[in-house]
Structure formats: C-alpha cells, structure tokens
C-alpha cells in the first residue's frame, strides 16, 4: 500500500543556508504525527515545502503516490492537503463563516454548499456559535481554531498544522488536542509542527525530530524521549523550560 | 548621412540626460517614501515657468534660473511633504493617486490663473545658436541643459553616497522600520527626499525652458514622460532612471528621424510595452512592490 505522504531526500537552500537537509519520511493515511525541533530547525520550511509555498531545491515529495513537489500551493490544496499558517491570517473584511467558506470554494461553486460545509467545519472545531461574528471579536485560541476550520473546509486528506498551540494556555491547548483527536478518529491524517514538547507527547502517535535542517530521530513519543541524541540536543532543555 | 545620425545621437543623449534628472526626482521619492508623485509633471512645468519668467522679465540666464527653480521647488516639496503628503504615506495607492491628482490640479490651475492658457515662448537666444563639435552640430540650449543636468546628477549621487544625511536617506530607502528603530530622523528624511525630488523636476523644467513653450497643459505629458522613463529603467533605481532617460531620449530622437515627429511618443510607449513584457520591473527594478 502506498503511503499518504512521502518525502524523499528533500532539501531546501536559501542562498548559503541549507534550511532543510536531505529529509526523508513517510506518513500513513491516518493518525497524528508531529514534526518537532528547536527554533530554526527547519520545521516551518519543511512544512512550506510540503504545502507548496516553496519548491524544494532537491528531492521529491509524493502525495498518494503522485509527485507534488514544485506544484503551486493552490493545486496542492486541491489535491487534498490543507494547511494553517503559524501567524494566523484571517481575511479581516469577512465574518468567521465567510472566511471558512473560501476553503470550500476549492471544491464547489455553490454558495449554499460552501456555507453548509463551512458550518460543519466550524462545528468540528467548536466555533459554531461564533460563525456570524467578525474576526476582531475572536480570541487567540479562537483564531487558531479558525485557521484549522479554514483548512478543514477544503476537505483535505492530510492536515498540516503550523504551531496551532503556540501561545495558548494549558487548558486551551488541551481543548485543541481533543479536537485534533476527534479529527484523527474521522480518518484524517494530521501533521503537526510544534515546539512545545509536552503537548506533542500527549497528542502525537508518531514524532519526527529535526535539528539544523536534518532528521535526527523518528518514532513513538516514548522512543523519542529516550533517544540520546534528541535528549542531548534539544529535549532536555525544552523539558526543563 | 553619418553626420545626420551623429547629430540625432547627440541630441538624443542630451535630452536623455534631462529626462534622466526628471525621472531621478520621481524615482528617489518612490525609493524612499514608496509613493508615486503623480504631480511630478506639474512640478516640471512650475520650473518651466520659473525659467520663462526669469528670462522674459528679468533677463536672468537659464542656468541661474534653474538653480533658483531647484531651490524654490525644494522648499515647496519639503513643505508639501511636511504639511500634506506625510499623512498619506501609509494610505492605499488609490488614495495617494487622488491626492496627487488634486495637488497636480491645484498647481496647474495656479499656473493657468497666473499665466493663462496660451503658450509662453522662450525669449532665450540660446534656442537658435549652435556650436560645431567636429562634424556634429549641437544646439546650445540642449548642451547647456544636459551639462547642468549631468552636474546635478553627479552632485546628487555624491550627496547620497558621501554625506551623512545622504547615507540616512539610503538607509531609509532600504528599510523604513529598521531606520526608525536605529533612530533615524525619518520625518526629516522623508521631507528632504520629497524636496529633492521636486527640486529635480523644477530644475529640469527651468533648464528646458529655452526648448519648450511654457504651458500649463504640459503637466500631463511630463508626468507620463517621467513614468515611462522610470518604468523602463526600473522604479526606485538611481542608475535605472538615468538609463531610462537616455533610452527614451534616444528613442524619441530616432523616432523623429526615421518615422515622423508625431510618432515619437508612440515609439516610447511601444518601447515601454516591450520592456514590460520582457522585464516587467524595468532594467534595474526593485524586487518588492
């Protein structure tokens, strides 16, 4: 059986800086995977390569067996990869519902269908009651969930979440984890980029560790916390913090 | 035949230098403040009238009038930026466009009120005199305008490169936020830059007063000419403005020779379209919008 996502020797260079260095990994069709590492480890770049915001300098990315590396972001979205942005980017002129509808317009042109799909996505992340509100009324956790709902409304098979829990207080983060679990149970594959280790250990079934752009370890959370290189390079410090 | 071509080449280069200084004024304002001065042509015409008045009323030579026009427009530009333009720096492009159309209308209207709609022909004797350099004949008015324009260009380049305030201006052009953070006097830099840009337009206007009959309606033509020049060269680039000016000067000169004088602006726009298709940001265009 082919894997849902497959990175094979992917690198990305910015001038003299090798931001992502020969990274390879595979994702199965479901469950929550986390991509972790200290700041500047290349997580977000790696994420942008998959989402098509940047083309890789080397290597190939396959989605459902098909090569997608070098495709523009909108095509990758239409193939079934939804993404969020680390810095939330709502369209300020639109209501919460309208924001989410944009994603649905990637597969329908009917406004009523898009509206229904957007409501469904908002309900899934618990923002249903605030559908008609303006963006300026949303709290930070709400905004993070709005980003997730927007990505969900594109009906993805793979959901890429960039630091959706950064800046949230522990109870808020726990609520987000619960939402992600629910989504994963519905058969969605989720790739999380996070640097708050504790949350990752709680949420993810599979963890990939990047350091200086390269993959240094991969496995279950339990395995990762005991991995000597990971502990030495990063984990210990993060856990202490 | 060769002499003819030489003459056209020379006059193209001479006009090109003047176009270059006009475009330089537009480009330096854009490079630093990130706004497009749609009133640039009206400022050129302002200078044109200064040159006209100086010659017709007081018999002042064109060169002195150009310095005076430059100084006058600098003060005008500095004041305009401080009082009005400053408030519009962060506004959307279309609002800035309306603002400058308004300023342009006020300037043109004031010129109309003062001088009426009829063209005011220059009284400078320079327009009819030529000197021979080898087989090529140069007309003195053009030669003088180009020489002064070249001196202005060099002076401006020297100021930007070597003076402290010039460095401030370049730093602000590179990074506004960074400039604010390291404590550059941004308001003063912006006002000065706008003043310099206006001075370029006014000085150039006075310089060409022996060549063009002063008329308020020329403002649109000069604004468009400045646009074409900077787009060909690349908006925001110092070298680009000069290269653009020379390119347009030569294009116009050869268009007048090879086709018809009336087609010269068509050819400039044609060139502009080609540049936009091949190199949309011009020869030396900046990356960011």
């Amino acid at each position: 059986m082919t894997d849902l996502l497959e990175l094979d020797g992917v690198s990305r260079r910015f001038g003299g800086l090798l931001a992502v260095d020969n990274v390879s990994f595979r994702l199965k069709g479901e469950g929550i995977t986390a991509l972790v590492g200290p700041n500047g480890a290349g997580k977000t770049t790696c994420f942008n390569l998959i989402a098509g915001a940047l083309p890789p300098t080397q290597g190939s990315i396959r989605f459902g067996g098909e090569i997608i590396s070098g495709f523009p972001a909108e095509d990758i979205c239409r193939l079934g990869i939804g993404r969020t942005f680390q810095v939330v980017r709502p369209m300020r002129d639109m209501t919460v519902l309208e924001n989410v509808m944009i994603g649905a317009f990637s597969w329908t042109r009917k406004v009523s269908e898009a509206r229904d799909a957007a409501r469904e996505a908002l309900d899934m992340v618990g923002l249903g009651p605030k559908a008609e509100a303006g963006i300026s009324r949303l709290t930070l956790p709400d905004r993070k969930m709005l980003e997730t709902a927007k990505a969900l409304s594109t009906r993805p098979r793979l959901l890429l979440l960039d630091e959706v829990m950064a800046g949230l207080r522990p109870p808020e983060a726990a609520a987000v984890v619960a939402v992600l679990r629910r989504l994963a149970e519905r058969g969605l594959s989720i790739l999380l980029v996070e640097h708050v280790m504790r949350i990752v250990m709680e949420a993810a079934e599979h963890v990939i560790v990047l350091h200086h752009g390269a993959k240094i370890a991969e496995g279950t959370p339990r395995y990762i916390v005991s991995h000597p290189e990971v502990v030495a390079g990063y984990l210990g410090e993060a856990f202490r913090a | 035949m060769l002499t003819l071509w030489g003459n056209v080449l020379a006059s193209g280069i001479l006009m090109g230098l003047v176009y270059g200084i006009i475009a330089l004024g537009l480009t330096i304002i854009f490079g630093v403040i990130r706004i497009v001065n749609f009133a640039h042509g009206a400022m050129v015409v302002f200078g044109l009238y200064v040159g006209y008045c100086a010659g017709a009323w007081w018999g002042i030579p064109t060169i002195v009038a150009a310095v005076g026009a430059g100084a006058l427009l600098f003060v005008f530009g500095y004041g305009l930026e401080t009082l009005v333009v400053k408030r519009f720096v962060t506004r959307p492009h279309h609002i800035q466009f309306i603002l400058f159309i308004g300023i342009s209308l006020v300037l043109s209207g004031a010129q109309l009120i003062a001088f009426g709609p009829d063209p005011r022909p220059s009284v400078s004797h320079l327009s009819f005199e030529t000197i021979a350099v080898g087989p090529i004949r140069l007309d003195l008015a053009r030669l003088q305008a180009a020489t002064v324009a070249a001196v202005m260009i060099l002076a401006l380049a020297g100021f930007l490169k070597y003076s402290t305030f010039g460095r401030f201006i370049r730093a602000a052009a590179d990074n506004r936020l960074g400039g604010l953070m390291v404590g550059l006097p941004i308001p003063k830099i912006y006002a000065t830059t706008f003043g310099i840009g206006a001075a370029c337009a006014g000085g150039a206007g006075a310089l060409i007063s022996p060549l063009f009959d002063a008329q308020p309606f020329l403002a649109v033509d000069f604004t468009l000419l400045a646009f074409v020049t900077v787009i060909v060269g690349g908006l925001g680039s110092f070298v680009g403005a000069l290269v653009g000016g020379l390119t347009i000067g030569l294009t116009e000169a050869f268009a007048a020779l090879l086709f018809a004088p009336s087609l010269k602006s068509a050819l400039s726009y044609g060139l502009l379209m080609i540049v936009l298709i091949v190199r949309p940001r011009g020869f030396f265009g900046a990356k960011e919008t």
């Binding site: 979205c77 980017r89 009917k110 | 309306i98 603002l99 074409v228």
Partner: protein, 343 residues
C-alpha cells in the same frame, strides 16, 4: 480598506435602492435639458466607476488607465456603426470581447512575473496612453480628427440605440441599475467571496485552493468588458469619439474619483461619489468661466479632491452610513469605532 460586512442585502436596502431609482426615473420626466445631459454623464461615469470599483474593491487590482477599456468600447461602437452601419448593440458586444481580451492579456503579462500593486497600476496607464497615441495616428478610426455619429433624426430607436437626450438619460439610468444589481450579485456569488479573499491575503487564499493567478486575470478582464459597455454608451451620448477625450488620462482620473470619494467597494459609493464630484467639476468650470479666470476650476476641484481624501478616508457613503447609525444605534456605532481604531 472598507470594513463593511454587507453579506446579504437586507430588504430595507433593496427597497431604498428601488425607491431611489424610481425618484431618478421620475426626475427624467421633469428636469431641464441641462440637468438631463449632466445626469446622463454622471450615470455613465457611475456605471464605468462600478466596473473600476469591482476590480479594486473586490479583486484588489488598481487600474489608473481604465480609459483604455472605455476607449475600446467607444471605438468598437463608433467604427462598426459609422463605417458599416451596424447596430451599436453589435459594437457593444464586440467592444466587450475586445476589452476582455486586452484586459486578460495585460493581466497575464503582468501577473505572470508577479508584478503587483503600483507596478500593475503604472502598466495600466502605460497601456492606455499607448493606445491613445496609436488611435491618434490611425486613419481608419479617424485619427486626431475623430469619428462623428450622424445627427439623430427620426424617432428614438432602441434597436439602433439612437434617440434624444431623455432617451439616453433612461438608458444610462438603466445601466446604473444594472451595475448596482451586478455588483450585489457578484458579491454574493462564489466569485465575490474568492475575489475578496484574494484581495485581503493572496498567499493565504492560495493555501485555501484559490487559483489567484486565474482569478486576477478574470477580474481585470471582467472589469474591462464592463467598462467597454460604458465607453460605447458614452460615445453614443457624446455623438463623437476622439482619442484624447475618450482614452486620455483625464478619463481614467474621472472614472476613479467618483468611487473613491463615494466609498470604495460599496454598492452606492460610485453613484454618490460621481453625483457629487462630476457636477462639482462642472460647477467649478462654470464659476471659473463666469469670472473669466481659467484655472480657478482646477484649483477648486483639486482642493476638493485633497479635502475629500483627507477628511473622509473611507468615502462619503460609509460616512453617511456611520452617522446614520450613530443616531439610531449608539451601541453599534461604538463597535464600528473600535474596529476603526484597530485597523
């Protein structure tokens, strides 16, 4: 930009709109010839302004050379009618097709290299000026001497779109009504949502699957075709076409002043704005002529424009709406103010 959330036009707005148009239609029966012809021009510039407003207000693309499309439409109607005797309706269709193609080509050339913002705006003005110069030297379309429609004789004809001043008053009014409805319908359609998203944040829209390259070309092309209709009607009303007066920079400026002063992206902004600015321009000219001071009108109009963008940053219509709300619903007004501060 504007932060209205007029998602669904409520019944009151629709009724108010229809009432306003009914009043304007009745005025068409009673006004004197001068006002009829002035309002006809106001309506046509409103209609063209609506096309410009769609492009910037929804699509996020600034055009300062919209006279290009107006001129294409005007010349299509004039050439086909005057040279070949074809109905202006053919001219309008041909003009739309040409303008749509030219708009799409221009947009494609520009956006293919990620040329955005002010660079694209300058490109539009360059294209307009290029066409103006080409048309000035093109004998077939009349060159600098322009083209003249034969003088109107006989009854008004809807088929030939020829008639007296009052006939054009109603044609132009109908065009504005069409424009208001089309703007509202587009806002409510999938295109409206997608275009607004693209305008607010292009990269974020692409991540949501919006084909922004395609949509930017589409919105420019669409707006161009719309403006071409206005240009064709303008040519008929004026009875002649000249390169300078139909494709010149002055037309491009006149087109966008109304919508900006009135309130960008709103349904009524272009109408309100043009209703104020165009007669103001005429009034300034009249005063200037009366005192025998040419140029006074330019100064007056110029100062009015500066004052408008200075004092009413979002335009007249939003200001009216806001003050109406401050009277009826104080709490609502409070909210609006909050948003304004955050912006």
């Amino acid at each position: 930009m504007q932060k209205k959330r007029d998602a669904l036009p409520d019944r009151g707005a629709v009724l108010g709109c229809l009432a306003a148009f009914a009043v304007l239609a009745m005025l068409g029966g009673v006004l004197n010839p001068y006002l009829i012809s002035l309002l006809t021009i106001v309506f046509l510039f409103t209609f063209i302004g609506q096309s410009w407003s769609i492009m910037l207000g929804l699509g996020g693309q600034l055009s300062i050379g919209h006279a290009l499309f107006v001129g294409i439409g005007a010349y299509s109607v004039a050439v086909l009618n005057i040279r070949y005797g074809l109905s202006p309706w053919f001219g309008l269709v041909v003009g739309m097709a040409l303008a749509a193609t030219i708009g799409a080509t221009l947009a494609w050339l520009s956006f293919r290299f990620e040329v955005r913002g002010i660079y694209f705006a300058l490109l539009t003005i360059a294209a307009a000026e290029f066409s103006r110069v080409v048309f000035s030297g093109w004998e077939f379309v009349g060159g600098m001497q322009g083209l003249f429609f034969p003088a109107q004789s006989g009854p008004n004809s809807f088929w030939m779109l020829r008639g007296d001043a009052r006939f054009y008053y109603f044609v132009s009014l109908a065009a504005v009504l069409l424009g208001v409805s089309a703007t509202a319908l587009i806002r409510l359609s999938f295109l409206g949502y997608v275009w607004r998203a693209m305008r607010d944040d292009e990269d974020a829209s692409r991540a949501l699957g919006v084909r922004t390259f395609l949509h930017k070309i589409l919105v420019v092309s669409f707006s161009g075709a719309w403006a071409a209709i206005g240009g064709g009607l303008l040519a008929l009303v004026q009875g002649s076409v000249f390169p300078d007066s139909i494709m010149g920079m002055g037309i491009s400026v006149d087109i966008l002043v109304g919508p900006i002063v009135g309130g960008l992206g709103t349904a009524f902004g272009p109408l309100i704005g043009t209703l104020i600015t165009l007669p103001l321009d005429h009034l300034a000219s009249a005063i200037g002529n009366k005192f025998g001071i040419p140029g006074l009108n330019n100064v007056g109009y110029g100062l009015a424009l500066i004052a408008a963008v200075w004092l009413l940053p979002d335009g007249i219509w939003p200001a009216i709406v806001n003050s109406a709300k401050s009277i009826t619903r104080l709490s609502w007004f409070g909210n609006l103010q909050m948003e304004q501060v955050k912006k």
